[in-house]
């Protein structure tokens, strides 16, 4: 077992882990931050996306020990300080960008990383950026809409419905 220390959602966090413990498991099991979900074992689904030192990372592709000293942000840190939803979270609710909610934390974390790098993405850019995030419920329509709306674009004319 190895001792790891990192900053998670602005607070110091530490724990004893095996060398093979994934960051996703460390967040869920050691820190009880269960908003980060695990939906596959091949780093395909993206339900576990978190931010490590400002970059979107699939927390199942990284060992907990690799995050030693890192600044990690999870879905639990995204809402505003008063508990209200962030702009991206609010857009997901407004545009019905989630159903069962299981892929949602990863979607929100990926979306916020996208908008940081590309504040006004096109539909095509959003869809391709989300290739690492699988949703089985929504058919992506409302997720794409929500992300474009969160970027301040008018989505009312994107699709008739």
């Amino acid at each position: 077992m190895t001792q790891v220390k990192m900053t998670v959602n602005g607070k110091p966090a530490s724990g004893e882990v095996e060398g093979r413990t994934l960051l996703a498991s460390f967040l869920r099991e050691n820190l009880n931050l269960t908003g980060t979900h695990i939906g596959c074992d091949t780093s395909q689904c993206g339900a576990c996306v978190v931010h490590v030192d400002g970059e979107a990372v699939k927390a199942c592709t990284m060992l907990a020990v690799e995050a030693e000293g890192a600044d990690v942000k999870t879905i639990e840190s995204v809402a505003n300080a008063d508990g209200s939803l962030s702009v991206i979270q609010q857009a997901f609710q407004d545009h019905h960008g989630l159903q069962c909610g299981f892929c949602t934390p990863g979607m929100v974390m990926s979306a916020s990383a996208l908008l940081k790098d590309n504040p006004k993405p096109t539909e095509d850019e959003v869809r391709h950026y989300l290739d690492g995030n699988i949703c089985r419920c929504t058919g992506y329509h409302n997720i794409v809409k929500a992300i474009m709306a969160a970027s301040g674009q008018d989505v009312s004319a994107l699709a008739a419905e």
């Binding site: 980060t36 395909q44 997901f92 609710q93 909610g101 929504t138 058919g139 008739a160």
Partner: protein, 787 residues
């Protein structure tokens, strides 16, 4: 103007707040004090004699609590099947025993053989690697037609063959159907495969068993669409635990799509092991395990024929289908290719004579059961591909041929035992032609061709049967369950309500939509109403959520219970207002005396019910809580018409979905936003089936598509924005809300439109191949174009 509350309003979902902030409570988020973890050692061969399981070395490994094998479950019941089909000879289906852990034989890759319970998951996994298995390989049967040949290796030695049943429907019609084919002016024949799929809810299955030695109470936390069904099946048939000592909790569930209806071995194991180990036992499926242990879907091989007269009227339809059951009968598997499939073969058409034959076959593969649509996508795909093929053989317009044969008068009794109450297939087709901009297709095709691409347009119709259904009818058809739904409405003293429903929400938004109904009925804000579901300890016995039944059946139970509440509240109000009960009206959350300005608020009446100082105690009891069980008198029949437009690259065979339009008739609609979202999700799954998803075995029974690296899940870039319309509404005539169900339509209605569009594109490139099987991958399309 859109409504801002009640029935018809696109109320935002209240459940989103917890899901968006990481505060959902999914089963894997539950960790009980002192819990141990189980890892299942699963068969890596498809068929073999299990000679021995040597756990001695594994038991000495660090952290091991206890190791279980099939021998530990000899005194335990078989995983039960919930539906018994009677075949065309009047014989009941062959029904094999389904053990919790394999015993004597292994019958599919992924079947659990041993279970290691340890202090940590990694220790359990490490110890499982030290278990020594002695298995003698047996030849596997994978192909259904090979499996039913004389002399084929038997999946179950104690059954007479690999044929589960040979079902004929309607058997009495067979002679007349055959005669109609002899008399036909034209016969179209089509052979096709409905590809095997894996449902793949994003949340893998999880089970946590708990046992309280002091009271003898068992609790199972599980990823289920129907906790009461699991309690009944597991308690009564597998473990022998009465309902009052077994609580089943299905908290937030991350998608189901049918595959979380069924009772699985892992649930029984964790419940059993928690008592045996006297500590909680938790299992979390990996995605790889999910691929080889979640029930699969579809997997039909069909020959279908249509007979037409000289005027292109459909005169008879007959089908021969082989339906894969896999190695064991999953909970509702036998019903899917029969009563959920044969009864829908009329589709939207007035074909007077229909005969359906289904041979259900055991193979050395994962069990197959209901997946979004369950039988109805298989029926729709065959029929709508066949009708398109008819049109092209006859040289007539596919939409015109459909319109000519539409059922136009309702109620309509089909020749396959069901009666459609309402529908307007002309209206949905008209709407489809409008929203798909059919008129603009020629110009879009020209634009594609200018880029060197082919463009195709395909349509289909669909009808489905939802809201399953009258208990007495399904009982006659072989269901070993009732199919009612329940609701308890508890009004609190200060006027708020809690609805305890037997339905279960795992993405459908019941916590938002159900309150809209009651808010409308009483005239109070939606946020005064809370929905409780998913826990057998605090909800009435219910059958759960599948088959697009929640609002049609569960919502109806809630309406009935609320009607009882309102009736009693009116009695209280009449007392408070000193007026005749018949003169009391409820509107906007207040009871008034008709024709006067006398009124009393909802909250005053509810308070009186619990503080009955001024109250008609001689006539009615205090309190305001009512329960209703609703048993529908018929299925509901949503219908619609879908159009797909594809672009095909003849150089590579790659197909892209350029446009997709869906015109549905769901009857009345409670929350249009949620309904639209349900259609979107169904479309993505149907398009996924048509274009890319395929669960594949090799001839030895090895599962070749057991991860997201190998099983192609639709991604955002594979799909377009959809055009969805549900303004055509013919309300259901037999449930109080007039609703029909919308959860499966997208998955049922979309695959034939995609394939019809691909074939249209190929024809426009000069290649008429008649049919191409799903998934229409680039390799298949290219081979067909260049074959």
């Amino acid at each position: 103007m859109p409504k801002d509350g009640g029935i018809g309003a696109s109320s935002k979902r209240r459940e989103d707040i917890r899901f968006l902030t990481g505060e959902g409570n999914y089963t894997d988020d539950i960790n009980l004090h002192g819990q141990a973890y189980v890892f299942f050692l699963r068969s890596d061969i498809a068929h073999g004699t299990l000679n021995s399981v040597d756990t001695s070395a594994a038991e000495a490994m660090p952290g091991v609590v206890k190791i279980f094998t099939g021998a530990d479950f000899e005194a335990v019941g078989s995983i039960p099947c919930g539906w018994q089909v009677t075949d065309k000879h009047g014989e009941v289906m062959q029904e094999p025993r389904h053990p919790v852990l394999a015993h004597g034989k292994v019958r599919h890759v992924g079947e659990p053989i041993a279970a290691v319970v340890a202090e940590s998951l990694s220790e359990a996994r490490d110890a499982a690697e030290a278990i020594v298995l002695d298995i003698t390989d047996l030849p596997a049967v994978i192909d259904m037609k090979e499996a039913v040949k004389a002399g084929a290796p038997k999946v179950h030695d104690d059954l007479t063959s690999n044929l589960c049943y040979d079902w004929g429907f309607v058997e009495e019609n067979k002679g007349a159907v055959d005669q109609a084919f002899k008399d036909a002016a034209h016969v179209t024949t089509l052979e096709l495969v409905n590809n095997r799929l894996v449902a793949n809810p994003m949340e893998p299955r999880v089970a946590v068993g708990d046992y309280a030695r002091g009271t003898g109470d068992h609790t199972l936390y599980t990823t289920s669409q129907n906790p009461h069904v699991i309690r009944l099946l597991m308690g009564a048939f597998v473990l022998g635990i009465p309902e009052h000592k077994l609580r089943v909790v299905a908290p937030d569930v991350g998608g189901g799509f049918g595959t979380k209806i069924f009772h699985y071995q892992e649930e029984a194991f964790c419940t059993f092991a928690a008592k045996a180990c006297n500590r909680p036992v938790k299992w979390t499926s990996s995605r790889s395990e999910a691929f080889m242990s979640d029930a699969h879907g579809r997997d039909h091989v069909t020959k279908i024929q249509m007979a037409l007269d000289k005027d292109n009227n459909f005169t008879a339809l007959r089908t021969d289908t082989y339906a894969n059951m896999g190695a064991y009968l999953s909970t509702f598997a036998p019903s899917v290719p029969t009563w959920l499939h044969g009864t829908l073969m009329a589709g939207n058409y007035k074909t007077p004579l229909i005969y359906v034959n289904v041979k259900a076959v055991f193979t050395n593969t994962v069990p197959v059961d209901a997946y979004r649509g369950a039988g109805r996508p298989e029926a729709t795909y065959q029929l709508e591909r066949l009708v398109d093929k008819c049109a092209h053989e006859l040289g007539v317009d596919p939409i015109a041929l459909r319109r000519q044969n539409f059922i136009t008068e309702f109620p309509y009794a089909t020749p396959v035992a069901v009666e459609y109450d309402t529908g307007d297939y002309v209206a949905t087709m008209d709407k489809l032609e409008e929203i798909s901009d059919m008129a603009g297709f020629a110009a879009r095709r020209t634009a594609s061709e200018a880029k060197g691409k082919l463009r195709g347009f395909g349509v289909n119709c669909y009808i489905e049967a939802c809201g399953i259904a009258p208990s007495n009818l399904v009982g006659q058809l072989g269901a070993r369950a009732g199919l009612y739904e329940s609701a308890t409405v508890r009004v609190n003293a200060t006027g708020g309500l809690v609805v305890m429903t037997g339905s279960h929400s795992h993405g459908q938004g019941h916590e938002t939509a159900f309150p809209q109904v009651i808010a409308e009925m009483i005239g109070i804000p939606e946020d005064m109403i809370e929905i409780v579901h998913g826990d057998t300890a605090n909800t009435p016995m219910g059958m759960g959520t599948y088959g697009s039944r929640s609002l049609a059946v569960g919502g109806s139970a809630m309406v009935r219970a609320t009607e009882k509440i309102i009736a009693k509240a009116k009695k209280i109000a009449s007392h408070l207002l000193e007026a005749s009960e018949g003169d009391i009206e409820l509107k906007d959350g207040a009871f008034s005396v008709a024709g006067t300005d006398k009124s009393v608020a909802w909250g005053d009446v509810t308070l009186a019910a619990y503080v009955p100082h001024n109250y008609p105690l001689e006539d009615i009891e205090p309190g305001l809580e009512e329960t209703a069980f609703y048993d529908p008198s018929n299925f509901t029949y949503p219908s619609g018409a879908y159009a797909c437009e594809v672009e095909l690259d003849p150089e590579t065979g790659h197909v892209t979905i350029e446009r997709f339009a869906a015109a549905d008739d769901f009857g009345n609609i409670v929350n249009p936003m949620i309904v639209t979202g349900q259609v979107h999700g169904g479309l993505a799954q149907g398009i996924g089936q048509a274009l890319m998803e395929n669960c594949t075995y090799d001839s030895d029974g090895q599962l070749l598509s057991a991860s997201y690296m190998d099983y192609a899940m639709p991604r955002a870039s594979d799909l377009p924005f959809y055009t969805v319309d549900h303004s055509c509404q013919t309300p259901c005539t037999h449930n109080p809300l007039g609703v029909k169900g919308c959860g499966e339509a997208g998955a049922i209605g979309s695959p034939p439109a995609v394939v019809n569009a691909v074939l249209d594109a190929m024809r426009s490139g000069g290649k008429d191949v008649g049919h191409i099987d799903m998934p229409v991958t680039p390799a298949r399309v290219w081979a067909a174009m260049n074959g």
